[in-house]
C-alpha cells in the first residue's frame, strides 16, 4: 500500500482501464489538452493520444448522447462532466436514453457507459454550481450510482464502473480531490464491487450512515463524540444504487440507533430511501426514530456563512446523535 491522492487514484483507474481495453475512451470538456479542469486526466492525452482522450466543445447533451450511441455498438465510453451540475444540461441522455435502452429494445442494447466527474457542493459556487445530483440519478431505474469518499474507493469503484455492462455514474467528491489515503500498488488489481458499503469505523452506540463528502465529516464527528463517551459506527455507503442493505442492517442491529448524514437536499433524498428500508425490514431493532442530517431545502446561497448553515456540519451531526441516544 502507498499513500496517494483521490485525484491520482482516479487517474490511475482511468489509465489502467484505457490500457486494458481498447474500447474504452475518455471524452469531455478540457479533459485532454488542459489535463482536466480538476487535473484528474493529467497526462492521459500524452499517454493514449487524441483518438482516445477527446476534448469536446461545451455541448453536454451532445457528447453524453454521443457516448450512449457509441456504447450501443460496443464501445465503452467514459464521459466526464466538468461538474455534475452541468450534467443537468444532458439530463435527457443520462436519464432518458442511457438507462432505458436495454428495456426498450427488449434486451438488445445494453449501454456500458460511465459518466463521471465532481458532484456535490464545493465552496461558495452558488446555486447553479452546487448540485448534489445523487437522488436525481438514483431515482432513474437502470442507472447505477456510486459515491466514493476515499482514494482507494475512488480507484476501485471507477474501475468497476468502466467494466460494468450498464450505465454507471461515478459521483466524485469535488472537495476531496486532494485528500490522501492508502491504496494498493498499481501492479495489484483493485476492483471494488458496486453495492458494497464499508464500515469506516467500528462503534457500538449509534450508526452514522454517510457517503461521499459526508464521510470525512462523520469520521471527524465520531472523534468528537468519543470525548462524550458515545461510540459511533461509521457506515460509508460507497454506492447509492445498488444499496448495501445488509451492511446497513448489520450495523443497525448492533447499535439500534441511526443518524443518516447525506450531502443532498432533504426532500426525496438518499436518506429517505435508507430510512424506509430500515424501518421496513428491521423496525424492531430501532431504539429511537432515525434522524437525517442533510442540506437545508433551499437553493445554495453564495454567502459563506449561509452556505455553512445550509450544509451538514459537525454540530448538526452531534445534535442528531445526542437526540437518537437520548444523551
Amino acid at each position: 500500500m502507498r499513500e496517494i491522492t483521490y485525484r491520482q487514484a482516479l487517474n490511475e483507474a482511468l489509465a489502467e482501464e484505457l490500457e486494458r481495453d481498447p474500447n474504452v475512451f475518455l471524452m469531455g470538456e478540457e479533459v485532454a489538452e488542459y489535463n482536466g479542469a480538476y487535473k484528474v486526466s493529467q497526462g492521459l492525452l500524452d499517454r493514449f493520444g487524441p483518438r482516445r482522450i477527446i476534448d469536446t466543445p461545451i455541448s453536454e447533451n451532445g457528447f453524453a448522447g454521443l457516448g450512449v450511441g457509441a456504447a450501443m455498438v460496443g464501445l465503452r465510453p467514459i464521459i466526464e462532466f466538468m461538474t455534475f451540475s452541468f450534467s443537468l444540461v444532458a439530463f435527457d441522455q443520462v436519464v432518458n436514453n442511457a438507462p432505458n435502452m436495454f428495456t426498450m429494445s427488449g434486451g438488445q442494447f445494453n449501454i456500458p457507459i460511465t459518466f463521471r466527474g465532481p458532484n456535490g457542493p464545493a465552496h461558495q459556487l452558488g446555486a447553479t454550481h452546487s448540485h448534489a445530483t445523487e437522488p436525481l440519478y438514483a431515482n432513474a431505474p437502470g442507472l447505477k450510482v456510486c459515491t466514493p469518499a476515499t482514494p482507494r474507493d475512488a480507484k476501485g469503484l471507477l474501475k468497476t464502473a468502466v467494466r460494468d455492462n450498464n450505465p454507471v455514474l461515478v459521483l466524485e467528491a469535488e472537495l476531496l480531490y486532494s485528500s490522501k489515503g492508502m491504496v494498493e500498488p498499481p501492479d495489484e488489481e483493485l476492483l471494488i464491487p458496486l453495492g458494497q458499503a464499508e464500515v469506516k469505523r467500528e462503534g457500538s452506540d449509534v450508526s452514522i450512515i454517510c457517503y461521499s463528502q459526508t464521510v470525512p465529516l462523520a469520521l471527524a464527528t465520531a472523534q468528537k463524540l468519543e470525548d462524550e463517551d458515545i461510540s459511533a459506527e461509521i457506515v460509508d455507503l460507497r454506492s447509492i444504487k445498488p444499496l448495501d442493505e445488509k451492511a446497513i442492517f448489520d450495523s443497525v442491529a448492533k447499535t439500534h440507533r441511526v443518524v443518516i448524514v447525506e450531502q443532498d437536499c432533504p426532500f426525496c433524498g438518499v436518506g429517505a430511501e435508507v430510512c424506509y428500508r430500515i424501518q421496513q425490514n428491521i423496525f424492531d431493532e430501532l431504539d429511537a426514530p432515525i434522524i437525517r442530517v442533510s442540506q437545508e431545502d433551499v437553493p445554495m446561497p453564495y454567502n459563506e456563512r449561509l452556505e455553512k448553515a445550509v450544509l451538514p456540519n459537525a454540530d448538526k451531526v452531534i445534535a442528531a446523535v445526542k437526540k437518537v441516544c437520548y444523551a
Binding site: 470538456e29 478540457e30 489538452e33 488542459y34 479542469a37 476534448d55 466543445p57 461545451i58 455541448s59 453536454e60 447533451n61 451532445g62 451540475s85 452541468f86 443537468l88 444540461v89 465552496h123 461558495q124 459556487l125 452558488g126 446555486a127 447553479t128 454550481h129 437545508e296 431545502d297 433551499v298 437553493p299 446561497p301 453564495y302 454567502n303 459563506e304 456563512r305 449561509l306 448553515a309 445550509v310
Partner: protein, 325 residues
C-alpha cells in the same frame, strides 16, 4: 444615464476605466480571500459592453453569462453593490446570495449573471418575447461567449427568435477561448457569425477593441429593430487579458498573443481618439482614472463594513411568498 444620442464618449471612457479598475481590485480582493467561489474578470473586453450600452436606452433589456461584473456596472449598478456582492454581503446587487457569477439588477433591466453556459440565451429570447407581446419598442441585448454557441440551448433559442421575429441582438463576445479551448478546436465554422445564417438571422462582425465601432454598429441594428422587430447576431472580436477565472494560469496561449492584444487596448484606443480630436487632455484622463480608482477603493470599504445576510432569512428567498412549503 442619458439617451443614446447625447451619451458622452468621455463618460463611456470613464465607464471603461471603472470596469477595469473594479476588476483589478476584485482580483486583489480575491487573492486576499475576501471573495469566494469562481471569479471571472472582464479586463480587455471593456469596449464591448460599453459600446453596446451606449447604443441603447436604459429601459432596454440586457442579460449575460457569468463574466458579468462589467455588465452590471455598465447598467448603472454601483461599484458598491457589485463589490458587496462579491463579498457576499446583504448590500450586494443579489443580496450576497448570487456571488460573482450571478449579478442581477431588476431596476436597471440587467437580467443576470448566468453561470450555466448558454442557459441564459433562451431566457433572453423570453425577454424579447415579452417586449413583442406587450407591443413595446424595447430591445434585448444578449451577451454570451464563443463557448456558448455549441450548446443546444443556443441553437434552439436562435431558431425561436427568428421564427417569432423577436427584438433581440445576440452579441457573441468572441475572445477566442472558452476556458482552455480555442474557437478553432470547438467550432466547425470558419467564423462564428456564420451560425446566424443557418437561422436566417442577419449577422455582423465587429472589432471589439474599438468602442466606436461597437457602439455604431449596435446603434444601427437597434434602430432597425425598433422599426420592425427581428433578431440580429453580432460577433464581437475581443480578448481577455487574464485567465479564464482566477484559478486559470492560461498556459494554453502565448505571451506574444496576449501582448499583441494589449497593444490594441480598448481604453488606450478610445483615449487616443478623444485626445487626437481635442476632446480630452492628459490631465483630464488622469482625473477620470483617479476617480475610477477612488470609486472602487470606496466600494471595498463599503463591502467590508456591510452586514452579512441574516441567518434567519435563509428561507426568505426560496419561494416568492417567502414561506416554507
Amino acid at each position: 444615464m442619458q439617451p443614446v444620442e447625447q451619451r458622452d464618449e468621455v463618460e463611456m471612457l470613464s465607464l471603461m476605466l471603472l470596469i477595469r479598475r473594479f476588476e483589478e481590485r476584485a482580483s486583489q480582493q480575491y487573492q486576499a480571500q475576501k471573495i469566494g467561489g469562481f471569479c471571472h474578470l472582464y479586463i480587455g473586453q471593456e469596449a464591448v459592453v460599453a459600446g453596446a450600452v451606449a447604443a441603447v436606452r436604459d429601459d432596454d433589456y440586457i442579460i449575460t453569462a457569468y463574466r458579468d461584473h462589467a455588465h452590471a456596472l455598465a447598467r448603472g449598478t454601483s461599484a458598491d453593490a457589485c463589490m458587496a456582492e462579491l463579498f457576499g454581503k446583504e448590500t450586494g446587487c443579489s443580496r450576497g446570495l448570487g456571488g460573482s457569477m450571478h449579478f442581477f439588477n431588476r431596476q436597471n433591466h440587467m437580467y443576470g449573471g448566468h453561470a450555466i453556459v448558454a442557459a441564459h440565451v433562451p431566457l433572453a429570447v423570453g425577454l424579447a418575447f415579452a417586449i413583442k407581446y406587450r407591443d413595446e419598442d424595447r430591445v434585448t441585448l444578449c451577451f454570451f461567449g464563443d463557448g456558448a454557441i455549441n450548446q443546444g440551448a443556443f441553437h434552439e433559442a436562435l431558431n425561436l427568435a427568428a421564427l417569432f421575429k423577436l427584438p433581440i441582438v445576440f452579441i457573441c463576445e468572441n475572445n477566442l477561448f472558452a476556458m482552455g479551448t480555442s474557437v478553432k478546436r470547438s467550432t466547425s465554422l470558419k467564423q462564428i457569425v456564420d451560425r446566424a445564417e443557418g437561422y436566417d438571422i442577419p449577422g455582423e462582425i465587429v472589432d471589439g477593441m474599438n468602442f466606436r465601432e461597437v457602439r455604431d454598429k449596435i446603434a444601427e441594428i437597434v434602430s432597425s429593430i425598433r422599426k420592425e422587430p427581428h433578431p440580429t447576431f453580432v460577433e464581437v472580436r475581443t480578448y481577455r487579458y487574464r485567465g479564464h477565472s482566477m484559478s486559470d494560469p492560461a498556459s494554453y496561449r502565448t505571451k506574444q498573443e496576449l501582448e499583441k492584444y494589449r497593444l490594441d487596448d480598448p481604453i488606450t484606443r478610445l483615449r487616443a481618439q478623444l485626445t487626437r480630436e481635442g476632446n480630452l487632455t492628459n490631465e483630464q484622463f488622469d482625473q477620470l482614472d483617479k476617480k475610477a480608482k477612488e470609486t472602487v477603493l470606496a466600494s471595498v470599504k463599503f463591502a467590508e463594513k456591510s452586514p452579512q445576510p441574516q441567518l434567519d432569512k435563509l428561507y426568505d428567498y426560496t419561494y416568492a411568498n417567502g414561506t416554507k412549503p
